[in-house]
């Protein structure tokens, strides 16, 4: 195996070790979406009639509808968290260990992003498992097929977290920025309600949500869970992710 493989393994092992050690982080990563699912969605389960829209072939209960949005939520939060951890590492000096290894900046950042995406994906599947145990009707074959899509979405969101981290200095600022990004991203998207419902109340909000990249990331997960794919959207996400990854070392300077 090439040397860069072991560097990648070292980075991802560290990411997993931290994820497992930080119990509260794991718990809140799961509690957050499950709260939406089991408390919020349960209340709306029968009253929010979701009209039939792709990829669904029939009427969908609300708790099924928000599953892709919750996966996106998990990936978004974890993507931000891992960038926050990088900001922390930068301040704490641990980043230097990474920076003085014989791997290029680009490799370093991409490996970090892949590691963050891996953790996000595992969190997402843990959440899905719990949702299944609570009786939410998620197609099992879709869970397998959606895996690569969920991973790509997790990577894209970690990348967005990274680029965001590059615009702020200091951890306190970054935490604040997280809130300005995460909640608008979530609410101005198709995660929690279909866009046609937004359109009914406000055309402006509808267009904002349609332009929100998070909407398209969530929708690609939604389609994948039902064994459908939107080639153009996926192509856009992939090429955007590849391009931004290439440019990442220009934008993000992880130096002390």
């Amino acid at each position: 195996m090439p040397k860069s493989y072991y560097a990648f393994r070292a980075i991802i092992d560290r990411e997993f070790a931290r994820f497992i050690q930080q119990r509260t982080r794991l718990l809140s990563a799961l509690v957050r979406p499950l709260f939406w699912l089991l408390v919020f969605a349960a209340g709306f389960k029968s009253t929010l009639g979701i009209a039939i829209q792709a990829p669904y072939a029939t009427y969908t209960p609300y708790d099924v509808y928000i599953i892709p949005g919750l996966i996106g939520m998990v990936c978004l939060f974890n993507g931000m968290q891992s960038s926050l951890a990088m900001a922390y590492d930068r301040e704490a000096g641990s980043m230097k260990v990474l920076m003085t290894a014989p791997i290029s900046r680009r490799q370093l950042l991409v490996f970090k992003l892949l590691a963050a995406a891996s953790v996000s994906t595992i969190q997402a599947y843990l959440m899905l498992l719990i949702a299944l145990l609570f009786g939410v009707d998620i197609p099992l074959n879709g869970l397998l097929v959606a895996l690569p899509i969920i991973f790509i979405v997790a990577y894209a969101l970690a990348l967005i977290g990274l680029l965001l981290a590059s615009t702020v200095t200091g951890m306190e600022n970054f935490s604040g920025v997280m809130n300005f990004v995460i909640f608008p991203a979530l609410f101005l998207s198709s995660s929690l309600y279909p866009l046609w419902q937004l359109e009914e109340s406000s055309e402006l909000l509808y267009w904002i949500s349609l332009s929100n990249p998070f909407t398209h990331l969530v929708e690609s997960i939604r389609f994948a869970l039902y064994l459908q794919f939107q080639p153009w959207v996926l192509g856009g996400i992939l090429s955007g992710a590849v391009l931004l990854s290439y440019l990442a070392p220009v934008v993000y300077k992880p130096n002390a």
Binding site: F8, F44, K45, S46, A57, Y59, Q107, N141, V145, L227
Partner: protein, 332 residues
Amino acid sequence: MRMLFGDQSLLSRFISVIKVALAVITILFPSQAVSYQLAISNERSDEVLLHDAEGRVLRQLLSCKRPRGMLVEPVNQDLWVACSDEDAIVRIDPESGEVKQRIAGFSGATNLALLGSEQLIVSNEGAASVSLVDTTTNVIVSQLPTGNEPDGIVYSADHKRIFVASENAGVVHVFSSEDFHQEALLLTNLRPRRMAINKDELWVSSEMGSRVEIFNAASLQKMDRIIFSPRGFRSEQLTPVDLIFSSDGLTAYVALGAANHVAIVDVVTREVEKYILVGSRAWGLELSPDGTRLYVLNGLSDDMTIIDLESRRPIASERTGLVPHAVEVVNR
């Protein structure tokens, strides 16, 4: 990929894994070939539409005013349709739609039941009665008085009794099938609509009572009741109408009307095993010939939901005409 790992085959390996996974999935979840069609009466659009087993509209079979109840003749497989606003019943060829027979004189004909090979019973919503008609002569032989708005008609398993639900009166009339005299009146909860027989049990849906009541078809004693309570619904929203049994008689399916769900009930324990979300105002029900699918008509969303009974999941909802009422399997 090469940039990162220097291993070109990683990507192609990955793609192969996905291909294999998809192939496995296709093997595990094959689509089945079916050979029947569905006729759906649509009250508001005044038509009977022919659909394939996947729910897609093939063509219009019949145009008549406010078609409601339907019946498939067991011998020649022709379809009888009650055209309520024409006060008539019509027999058509379910393939071509050709009208083979038309009998008038039924005030607000709602539902039909077969009585032997040459007689039909038709409930007259507008005349508080059921009519017995000879289909060979087109003559209405007899009219049996009922309470207001008679709806569903079923027979006991031994064919000795005819049960007719009278919506408005809140009773089920029990007629003898030999001399048609009324043997008894079963008092039910509010607005009994439809019924179904399972061996010696008579199940009656009570639209405004949010429940199904179970009577012994022989002794006519009330045995039991099932009250529905899907989460998040008020009892007023639960308006059970159509009900149907699986061929083995162990499972009952009840359309819950404004609650937008279908209930799957264990006949023995009377427990509701699952509530399945369908469209708006679940109304008419029909099982596929092999019993693997349940077709549910959604009166207010103008569509039909197809439920796969093995997985107990709704698989699709397909558009039909306006305010679908009844569905029958035809052209097997």
